[in-house]
């Protein structure tokens, strides 16, 4: 299949209205994050909340703006679990080693 044909077939995609709603949602979450910055939360709590909100925003951008929602599901299955697996591996291997090094730091 030619690339032109792919492009033509690829997406009905989201409407302008839907994209606008997604964009407003992204801006709203951004302002929610800024509002949270006013609250003097503990760094670990703040970091956890911000990561969750950022993952939600990333999901919105990938689903609608990057059209992943409208691609074949096999693509999602091919890309996303492998990516999440690699990120989990980073958490598993970075943190214990990093905390071990912290114990060795001279006081």
């Amino acid at each position: 299949m030619s690339t032109e044909a792919h492009a033509a077939e690829a997406h009905a995609g989201a409407s302008v209205g839907t994209n606008l709603v997604v964009w407003i949602g992204l801006v709203a979450i951004t302002f929610l994050e800024v509002f949270l910055a006013y609250e003097e939360l503990k760094p670990a709590v703040m970091l956890s909340i911000l990561v969750v909100l950022s993952v939600v925003k990333a999901g919105m951008i990938m689903s609608w703006f990057m059209h992943l929602k409208y691609e074949k599901f096999t693509l999602v299955l091919w890309l996303v679990p492998a990516m999440i697996f690699c990120i989990c591996m980073m958490f598993i291997f970075f943190f214990p080693e990093a905390f071990r090094l912290l114990q060795m730091r001279p006081h």
């Binding site: 299949m1 690339t3 032109e4 792919h6 492009a7 033509a8 077939e9 690829a10 997406h11 995609g13 302008v16 994209n19 606008l20 964009w23 992204l26 801006v27 951004t30 302002f31 994050e33 800024v34 949270l36 910055a37 006013y38 003097e40 760094p43 670990a44 703040m46 970091l47 911000l50 990561v51 909100l53 950022s54 925003k57 990333a58 951008i61 990938m62 703006f65 990057m66 059209h67 691609e71 074949k72 096999t74 693509l75 091919w78 890309l79 492998a82 990516m83 690699c86 990120i87 980073m90 958490f91 970075f94 943190f95 990093a98 905390f99 912290l102």
Partner: protein, 210 residues
């Protein structure tokens, strides 16, 4: 003659001569690049998160006003440029070359504005507040390496994105590039936006000066 199972296999998406993901190779290549670049930024941000939580003397150089207001403006500008890119891709799918180029130029303006604001902030931090890559007056020197490293890598992506947008806009306007090229360009631009959705809260909002 093939048996029934072989016939079924030959008709499947994976038998060759077809595109299993129903997309062109350029778009698939861009998705693979995005996954690899996601892992690069993930490694940096995970390392940053560890450093942030384990250093009690982490500097907090960003007061709500003007620093956080400034970086929030940068975020909104980048988000707005993502919306104009969405409009460019939609126009390209309608084969409306004039509007596609117009929206792509609007996206470039957003990217340039973001870069300008970011450089202004960097200059302020370096020359007025004396934050460098190796030290700062407020706390652990690690902050400079993390801040300039991560935001610098992101800014490099934005600048490359602006150049990429310019090339595709000119090519598409002249009829050399297809709607798929605009869409692939859009994937890159949205990815740059997506990365900032992590950089802004983790780097800036985690270091607010109260």
């Amino acid at each position: 003659m093939h048996d029934v199972k072989t016939e079924a296999a030959l008709e499947s998406s994976w038998s060759g001569g077809k595109s299993p993901f129903a997309m062109g190779s350029k778009k698939l290549g861009m998705w693979l690049f995005i996954v690899s670049d996601t892992l690069t930024f993930s490694a940096l941000l995970i390392t940053y998160s560890y450093s942030r939580l384990t250093n009690p003397d982490w500097p907090r150089p960003f007061p709500i006003f003007p620093a956080i207001a400034f970086s929030t403006t940068m975020t909104v500008v980048l988000l707005a440029s993502s919306l104009t890119m969405v409009m460019a891709v939609m126009a390209a799918q309608r084969n409306d070359r004039k509007k596609t180029v117009m929206w792509m130029v609007a996206t470039m303006v957003g990217g340039l504005l973001f870069t300008g604001l970011h450089l202004t902030e960097w200059m302020n931090m370096i020359f007025k507040e004396h934050f460098t890559i190796t030290g700062n007056p407020e706390g652990t020197p690690l902050f400079g390496a993390v801040f300039f490293g991560i935001t610098g890598l992101h800014m490099t992506h934005v600048m490359i994105g602006v150049i990429y947008l310019g090339i595709v806009a000119v090519g598409y306007g002249r009829g050399k590039f297809s709607a798929e090229d605009v869409e692939v360009n859009g994937l890159y631009w949205h990815f740059v936006d997506l990365v900032w959705m992590f950089v802004f809260p983790l780097i800036y909002l985690m270091s607010v000066k109260y």
